[in-house]
Symmetry: C2
Subunit: 321 residues, 2 copies
């Protein structure tokens, strides 16, 4: 594992950099990627970002003008596991140098790059990028500030989750001073809901499953429900967060159908139990309070039963770390 | 208007202090009140908080042991208008010295105390209390940090609203360092919803009124709806925030019935129009993005029409300050 200084020195020595984000991209991987990309461009270097999947429109403001070039160095940001790079990225990587530096904050990081800079106690990967830029003495402009603020805010549920640290707040203060359009960013990320999403929420709530002790709540979103309301699979953040908000619920699970035999599961937990441990039972992972896994099964009821069993098992074992 | 130094000197000279909060108390008035109270107690002084209305259970953690005494000095926190003290406070004040110092952050403050310390650009009154404690060199313990963090967080919608400043974030960082239980506080304030509240939300959404251009959304909550779902009038924060979150809506209005001829109105606006200006048409006030007013009328449809007319008028005039 590199020290911060080593990672900064390595980054500072790079030119023609390709930056990789994880598939199904969120505000933190894109904020880290485009924040770093913009910082490199600002130094007169060539840099661009690649993601396996299309970048949702709401993150469009992050994307700078990126010219095409043959990469000499490949860096990944917020990618905890090589499987999260995705098939398109893997195809691209076949003709490129190996990933030279991986910058990440997931405690479950599975090393795949030649060098790793990991701060497992950082709330967001964007905080790490900010500290690396500080280490290199690179200035931050409004465009970079917008990117980094986005990751700080989205990975902490707007400074609500337990991962939020004094450093998170201090970097947020800096980013606002450097011009981050925090109000607009938070409005887009947290305070925007469409009628269709409200409709889907009502459909899902009608069929919510609760354990007898009311500690586990499970919502299931089928492809039929998505079709009926016109909501896309990338618009389910609000609904994923909902179960855990219900008074008394300690584990909130959302089972989202992506195909006939493809269900993606999001788990959100209170302090008493680890979401990451629950998902590890099914080859998934993530953070203590928010994690995910996937099932190649066709029956959401069976998936629910497996998950509830895993919750009961973890509940007996761990302390929620 | 006092300078910060003068206000701090005045506070430091006080003993046997009664601190007044505004009626229908929120996290900021209570956080400022109990934060200041705890800081005074920590200095070996006598202090207690009075509020016209019962303090909601969720704020119970703020309340320290308070002994009874005859107050020599009266201070108000976060009270923008003497009318917001409420009848019980007024009755109590009849036999006490006049309010000697008012600490506030509302730009619409109507002076009623002998001395005023106002920071109209502060996101919360708790930030001002923190700066006054700093000015006096008084230390902050975990109990005080919990109180002040609560006001910072609740008055900014958990650091989401445009009033959030770099200072807000820096003080939040300090409060977390001083032991504020930020995760639990935010969970209680922002991430807890009961089944009954979700039910009420669905009832209200079914009858939501939208302007033809979809820029104004109005929800009406009648006493019948509250009775039907068992939700109390103090539990309507989530629903009040909902309208403004809907894609495209610039003015979100919630009309809440309190009695046959008593409707309380909450107005939330986007950057383009001032909530405070809209409510000023009906003798109300507040902040640029969040304000309120009251109607002694029996017909919510008439109230809605009056409000929509005021929105149209303000929309033509102002720039949203």
């Amino acid at each position: 594992m590199l020290t911060r200084h080593q990672a900064a020195q390595m980054l500072a020595s790079f030119d023609r950099v390709l930056i990789l984000c994880h598939r199904n991209p969120d505000g933190d991987t894109l904020g880290s990627g485009f924040g770093l990309c913009r910082a490199l461009l600002r130094q007169g270097k060539k840099a661009r970002v690649f993601c396996n999947d299309p970048i949702p429109d709401k993150f469009g403001y992050m994307i700078p003008k990126q010219e095409d070039f043959v990469p000499l160095h490949v860096v990944s940001v917020d990618v905890a596991d090589p499987a999260l790079l995705g098939p398109n990225t893997e195809k691209l990587l076949a003709s490129l140098p190996p990933v030279e530096l991986s910058i990440d904050h997931h405690p479950t990081h599975k090393q795949f790059a030649e060098n790793l800079y990991l701060e497992a106690d950082s709330a967001s990967c964007c905080e790490i990028v900010r500290e690396l830029l500080r280490e290199m003495g690179w200035e931050i402009d409004q465009g970079i500030a917008d990117c980094l603020y986005t990751g700080l805010s989205t990975d902490t549920g707007c400074f609500r989750f337990s991962n939020t640290s004094p450093r998170t707040h201090r970097i947020a203060a800096e980013m606002i001073e450097m011009g981050a359009d925090h109000t607009r960013i938070n409005k887009v990320m947290f305070d925007t809901v469409t009628f269709a999403e409200l409709e889907l929420e009502q459909l899902a709530l009608e069929k919510m499953w609760m354990s007898d002790d009311h500690k586990i709540a499970v919502l299931t979103i089928t492809t039929d429900m998505l079709r009926q309301t016109g909501v896309s699979e990338t618009q389910l953040d609000r609904i994923t967060a909902l179960t855990r908000k219900i008074s008394g619920v300690e584990v909130g699970i959302t089972i989202k159908q992506r195909g006939e035999n493809d269900f993606k599961v999001s788990v959100r937990t209170a302090e008493t139990i680890s979401a990451s441990d629950i998902c590890a039972n099914f080859g998934g992972g993530g953070h203590a309070r928010a994690a995910g896994c996937q099932f190649d099964l066709s029956d959401p009821v069976l998936i629910r039963e497996k998950l509830v069993e895993a919750v009961r098992k973890c509940d007996g074992e761990d302390t929620g770390r």
